[in-house]
């Protein structure tokens, strides 16, 4: 009996530890996304860099899209994708929503909106996840709100004080609202980026319509490294 039970127990332990690894793996993957702000350090004035900036993000996204379609349809085995959750078995993975959000922000939004929204998805989202796991849902949203507030204040610090405060408040509320989305077809990794971005865009359009320039100077400048 012992001979049978020992391997079962050992396998169970391994599977439990894999669960936990997948948990941290997803968190690290999220945080890794913050590196994409390097996009703004790459100068548009050099032709080959401008070309890569234009085509690399969309190419990677397209590749991921076809990979996910193949996985959902069973053409590629799901076992090749580490750390997927049960609800992603018959739906495209969250990472595709995450990447789509980043690409949309990089292509269609000004840096002052895109950078804090990307940071919200990459850092505030896993922080909220950990806080929810340790303290509870309400506390997680409160912590998430404060973390997002910090990101918006840091990226809008060059704006007028009232603009910075309103923008930071709108952005943080939008990020927490986006994170609370609970639909299987629409992922929170997408909404946490696009909700604050759209709210801020509306705020900017409204303020500019009143004749006030609200958009501050960007905080990341193209690098002067010898490309």
């Amino acid at each position: 009996m012992k001979r049978v039970m020992a391997p079962i127990s050992s396998t169970k332990k391994k599977l439990q530890s894999l669960d936990f690894d997948a948990h941290w793996y997803r968190r690290v993957f999220h945080a890794f996304g913050s590196s994409f702000v390097v996009y703004y350090m790459l100068p548009d004035t050099i032709e080959w860099i401008a070309f890569l900036k234009m085509w690399v993000p969309i190419s990677v996204l397209t590749l991921a899209f076809f990979l996910e379609i193949a996985r959902v349809q069973g053409v590629i085995s799901g076992s090749h994708f580490f750390g997927l959750r049960m609800y992603e078995q018959k739906r495209v993975g969250s990472y595709l929503f995450f990447a789509s959000g980043i690409v949309i922000l990089l292509y269609f939004f000004p840096q002052q909106i895109a950078v804090p929204c990307i940071l919200c998805a990459c850092l505030a989202d896993p922080i909220m996840g950990e806080a929810r796991y340790r303290f509870g849902k309400k506390e997680a949203y409160a912590i998430g709100f404060l973390v997002c507030l910090l990101f918006f204040v840091v990226t809008w610090y060059k704006a007028d004080l009232w603009v910075m405060m309103v923008a930071a408040f709108i952005g943080s509320i939008g990020a927490v609202l986006g994170e609370s989305v609970n639909a299987w077809w629409l992922d929170d990794d997408f909404m946490i980026q696009l909700t604050p971005a759209l709210l801020l865009l509306m705020f900017l359009i409204g303020v500019e319509a009143m004749g006030v320039t609200a958009l501050p100077e960007p905080i990341i400048y193209p690098s002067l490294l010898p490309w």
Binding site: L18, Y25, A31, F32, S34, R85, E88, L123, L150, E217
Partner: protein, 89 residues
């Protein structure tokens, strides 16, 4: 979303094979954000601090946020990865 849906898909592959996927991406997942934050802080130092230009202070703050934000998750991840390797070896 209920708890079952939030659970991870368990594979029938041996745990060593799954571990390989993690190990393959680990250097990239850890090094790239660190490099980006160093890149930002260096740019602040060279064009901002050295030339007394405060316009680059945002790059310093962003660099620190990216570095600390990543370390917050990298350290527990690496700790469990090392622990797991010891278990499987």
């Amino acid at each position: 979303m209920n708890t079952t849906k939030m659970e991870y898909i368990k594979s029938n592959l041996e745990s060593k094979k799954l571990l390989r996927t993690e190990l393959l991406f680990t250097p990239m997942l850890i090094l790239v954000p660190s490099l980006v934050s160093i890149f930002l802080i260096n740019d602040w130092y060279v064009r901002g601090f050295m030339q007394g230009n405060a316009a680059f202070d945002g790059e310093l703050m962003l660099g620190i946020i990216i570095f600390i934000g990543n370390m917050l998750f990298d350290i527990p991840f690496l700790r469990f990865l090392v622990k797991k390797r010891r278990v499987t070896e």
